[in-house]
Amino acid sequence: MMLRYLHEWGSPPVFYQRAGRWQRVLWTLAALLILAGLWGGLVLAPADYEQGQVYRIIYIHVPAAWVAMFAYVVMAVTGAIGLIWRLKVAEVITSAGARTGASFTILALATGAIWGQPTWGTWWVWDARLTSVLVLLFLYLGFIALENAIEDRRNAARACAILALVGLVNIPIIHFSVYWWNTLHQGPTVARLSAPAIHITMLVPLLLMALGSMLFYAGALLSWGRALMLERERSSRWAAREAGV
């Protein structure tokens, strides 16, 4: 039963329809969580003892960075599935993930710069954490550029999947960079072995924003996936049916 349901996702028209339904559900939940998180983070949470109000950028910056990294792992995994099983849906999702992932990486870098200027005293510093996240952005952009450079869709998907897998090594580097090198960026507040080093009133909105951003990303992935799937299947009968002809 379950297996059959999953198997059906592999069919392009089924994917197109189900993704449309799931996208709406995911985005509704994401909107509720993000609104609650914004209220909690901007209104209810107190100021920080050291940074004052500026620390509220954390509610955007940290979820954006998590999504940027998570999206890359998903892209590499679906890329591998596409390489091994030659599944069209996996190839489309891989390419859809590059777009959402790149936009969240830009968000993490931009909010980091905006936060760094008043607290550290600089917009940018060539520190291991910041540099490895910049590399992540280049990996996403390289993926999109490579895909556009190769005419044949299937060849493009294979080349891009290999690039995604090679770049996977960067993800643990990003996470551990603050331990391995002397960085200006501080260590993890939440994603560490001991309990989070953040007061509960500040932690709850952060987790709401993080979960909301994750769900928004998942919905965006499906939304991009539908568009790219339709483009790839433009000569098929189901596409014509969807177009209403």
Binding site: I57, F104, L107
Partner: protein
């Protein structure tokens, strides 16, 4: 009124805080609109392609149907 002003000033760091939130809003809007527009464009492309195929089929169908006398 003062409370609202205080909220937006963010302890004098309002420019930084609100510009970060503005970038966030931008990324959300991008991920909502860009795939939607791209899918609509694809749907128009599919419809155009299909119509062209149908007229082509009609014309060739008419040509083959014509009996020389």
């Amino acid at each position: 009124m003062e409370a609202i002003q205080e909220f937006f000033s963010m302890g004098g760091r309002g420019v930084y805080v609100w510009s970060a939130y503005a970038v966030f809003a931008g990324v959300i809007v991008f991920n909502v609109l860009a795939p939607l527009l791209r899918r609509r464009q694809a749907l128009r492309l599919v419809a155009r392609q299909q119509r062209r195929r149908e007229t082509l089929a009609e014309r060739t169908g008419a040509a083959s149907g014509r009996v020389p006398d």
